[in-house]
């Protein structure tokens, strides 16, 4: 269970690594743990554009389907093709091999609205306390 300090986080449990105006996106340790064994990933198409908060991918565990939201607005420039048939990477290495897609940001300043590791851990701590 870890939440690297170099990443930014969303309320929908995605993580974002910003390098220049490109963001790499995946789901957090907490999100993969809640989903359970992930067996299918429907990733966005390269070249498609999303507003922040749009559904842009789907993850299916054995039990259920979850939407993944675009954490920031922009255009998909790359998807993690290695996930095809190896979706368990999202469970095993959510911040590494389990990355999902990259976005060319249309509003790079919006990164400032995302949570840092401390704020995100407080959020999931509150969620756990409420459940």
């Amino acid at each position: 269970m870890s939440y690297p300090v170099e990443l930014k986080y969303t309320e929908d449990h995605e993580w974002v690594l910003v390098e220049g105006d490109v963001a790499t996106v995946g789901i957090t340790w907490h999100a993969q743990d809640s989903l359970g064994d992930i067996v299918f990933a429907q990733l966005p198409e390269v070249g498609s554009e999303f507003e922040s908060g749009d559904v842009c991918a789907e993850l299916e565990s054995v039990k259920a389907v979850s939407d993944v939201y675009a954490p920031l607005a922009g255009e998909i420039t790359e998807i993690n093709e290695d996930l095809d048939g190896a979706e368990e990477s999202i469970n095993q290495d959510p911040y590494g091999d389990g990355w999902m897609f990259k976005i060319q940001l249309s509003e790079p300043n919006a990164v400032a609205d995302l949570m840092d590791s401390t704020a995100y851990q407080k959020l999931i701590g509150d969620e756990n306390a409420a459940s």
Binding site: G36, D37, F40, E60, V62, K63, V65
Partner: protein, 365 residues
């Protein structure tokens, strides 16, 4: 309302299980993970807490007669010490519940019912008991803890926990004795997973220490603890229906492929007239197995032919054992032949599917 806890609740917490509300019970949905648990059962043996299941005790000289008036299967075909799958229907031929009937003695039966239907079933049985005063129905749901040991090594593990000789027991047999240090258990060679195995009813007051003893006995056999998540994927691979998904008050055994537990010639039972009418008129839909290409089907997703809806899915998952996407669903009569090509509307995307005859998984030992 506070969630109910089985006597093994503390063991689940200690084992790090993820707990959920299931039919009013606080139950383990998974321990190590659904896939690992599922594969553990298929490879070796798994231990399940199924104490949430309900039990109704039926006793009396004429108990067989009373049950035959309530249930679809023929209780008179059941010798003492055996069990079978059966169903209880409403007057429209729909399922009140699907049940397992254990004949403990000539005049003594234990009917195992779904947790979510327990109160409804018991009330229904009492209300429709044709021999009230002669045959007693008692809700013993609070009297029994229940575990399941399932998998090819279940017989090895179970045999270490009792003096009884379990290995020669036939499928469906039920015997009485000590199990895992608990006196007065009923041990049945039954299960819901498609594997060999046992389901054990234990007097609830003494049952709690049994869990740790079973885990200890299973240590040499790679025993896995199994939650409700893998229980569901195991039953789906085995082609077993689940109340609330495939069957309910508005589906009949003829539609659900459960004609084999429906003995229309045995004499009258609640729902029989409706089934005879349905048999004569012909069923309009039937439950089929499906293999879906590329996508995972989920309950209520539409089944299409040439873009026209012909039914919907009732259950679906990625099979943890075979890796294929398996599902059950109802299709209009005429579209259910194995090999038929259909489409599934998976949240707006069309996935191709083929009708296959369940079970998806069959054990080879």
């Amino acid at each position: 309302m506070a969630l109910r806890q089985t006597v093994f609740h503390g063991d689940h917490i200690q084992a790090g299980a993820r707990m959920v509300d299931f039919g009013g019970w606080h139950m383990p949905i998974q321990y190590s993970g659904i896939i690992a648990e599922h594969v553990g059962v298929r490879r070796g043996v798994g231990l399940f807490d199924v104490s949430h299941m309900g039990e109704v005790r039926v006793r009396g000289e004429r108990a067989e007669e009373a049950l035959n008036a309530l249930l679809t299967n023929d209780v008179s075909a059941l010798p003492p010490g055996t069990s079978h799958y059966s169903a209880m229907l409403n007057e429209r031929g729909g399922f009140v519940d699907d049940v397992y009937v254990y004949r403990l003695a000539a005049d003594d039966f234990l009917v195992c019912v779904n947790a979510s239907n327990r109160d409804k079933d018991f009330a229904w049985m009492v209300e429709h008991n044709p021999l009230a005063g002669e045959v007693d129905f008692v809700d013993e749901g609070d009297s029994w803890a229940q575990i399941a040991l399932q998998g090819r090594h279940a017989v090895s593990v179970a045999s270490e926990l009792t003096e009884l000789d379990l290995a020669p027991l036939a499928r469906g047999a039920v015997v009485f004795g000590d199990f895992a240090g608990v006196e007065g258990c009923w041990i049945a060679r039954t299960g819901y997973t498609g594997e060999d195995g046992f389901e054990v009813f234990m007097p609830v007051e003494q049952a709690q220490p049994a869990w740790a003893r079973i885990v200890e006995a299973g240590a040499d056999h790679d025993l896995v603890l199994v939650g409700l998540g893998a229980r569901d994927t195991l039953r789906l691979e085995a082609g077993n229906v689940l109340y609330g998904n495939e069957i309910g008050e508005d589906t009949t055994p003829l539609e659900a492929g459960l004609r084999w537990i429906t003995k229309l010639d045995k004499g009258d039972f609640v729902g029989r007239d409706a089934l005879i009418r349905q048999r004569e008129a012909g069923i309009s839909r039937r439950l089929v197995g499906l293999e879906i290409e590329g996508r995972i089907g989920r309950p209520h997703q539409p089944i299409l032919i040439d873009g026209e809806p012909v039914g919907e899915l009732t259950s679906g998952t990625r099979s943890p054992w075979m890796g294929t996407n398996i599902a059950l669903g109802y299709v209009r009569q005429g579209h259910g032949r194995p090999g038929t090509n259909l489409d599934i509307d998976v949240r707006g995307r069309i996935a191709h599917a083929t009708v296959v005859k369940p079970p998806f998984f069959q054990r080879e030992y």
